[in-house]
Symmetry: C2
Subunit: 136 residues, 2 copies
DNA sequence: CATTTACCTACTATGTCAATAGGTAAATGA
DNA sequence: TCATTTACCTATTGACATAGTAGGTAAATG
């Protein structure tokens, strides 16, 4: 029942990019220093975020990453579903996983289903903008 | 973000004991056959449930396990917190874990905190009785 | 053209999960 | 009494995911 560092770092880097946004590109070197996390590991997460249209990256001097949209357009649910793969509390709810043959008679499935809806529903109502320090 | 088989099996065995309750003790052999899970593995889970007052077990012929209370007195949250260790979505919320030094400035902590409250709050309002097949 | 940055693939250490293996202890009923 | 049945106990294991590290290449700039 744990969100991995991958997902937590993804949120942190997006918040960091949002809070330090000055229109230009922000090098990961700076973010990594501020957030005190592994540069190499963060690079892999950025690659995922970049491929999926969350951020834009440019090479070379003056390069770095930049948000593709405004902070209130980043739903936490979307970010975590991407980095975690799924937010489902049990694998039988994970579309793409093999279906459970006990599904029809399963006493606990409604429980997991409702829990899943709650979790995703909550995380889809919070955005990066909500997590930013307001007095900026 | 997954509930382990340990927690899922615990719920299933308690539901099974509730649904087949006839006042006496039910041997794990029967439960394991109905639920189609590993006997040895289930035994370890029963030991945990027994030590923590969820079920009572007696040895020998005519022995087995029995619920200690009525089904509506078993909160799903209590069962899962026992078997999973914690339901916290991130370790910094897990009382007993080492506190995070970034706690005060952490932008994401309120998110995790509220999510944690939602998950626990929901699971504490559902009981084993709610998960039983009603027409018994 | 040297420097800076993103971007890529392969590898590894560690830990947890989901069991299995191989027993011992207690209670029963024949 | 004693074989059987059940719970209960400890140690070990295979598989897998996590959280990185190592060592590069490619692109952009000043």
């Amino acid at each position: 029942m744990m969100v991995s560092t991958k997902g937590r770092y993804a949120l942190r880097v997006l918040i960091d990019l949002a809070e330090h946004d000055a229109g230009g590109f922000i090098p990961m070197k700076d973010v990594v220093q501020r957030q005190n996390v592994s540069q190499k590991y963060m690079e892999r997460i950025m690659s995922l975020l970049s491929k999926n249209g969350f951020v834009e990256g440019v090479h070379g001097k003056g390069g770095g990453y930049r948000l593709n949209r405004s902070p209130e357009e980043y739903r936490i649910g979307d970010i975590l579903r991407l980095t975690e793969g799924t937010l489902a509390p049990v694998s039988c709810l994970d579309c793409g996983a093999k279906p459970c043959e006990r599904m029809d008679s399963c006493r606990t499935r409604p429980l997991w289903h409702d829990l899943d809806r709650m979790i995703n529903g909550y995380l889809d109502q919070v955005t990066i903008a909500d997590l930013m320090k307001k007095e900026n």
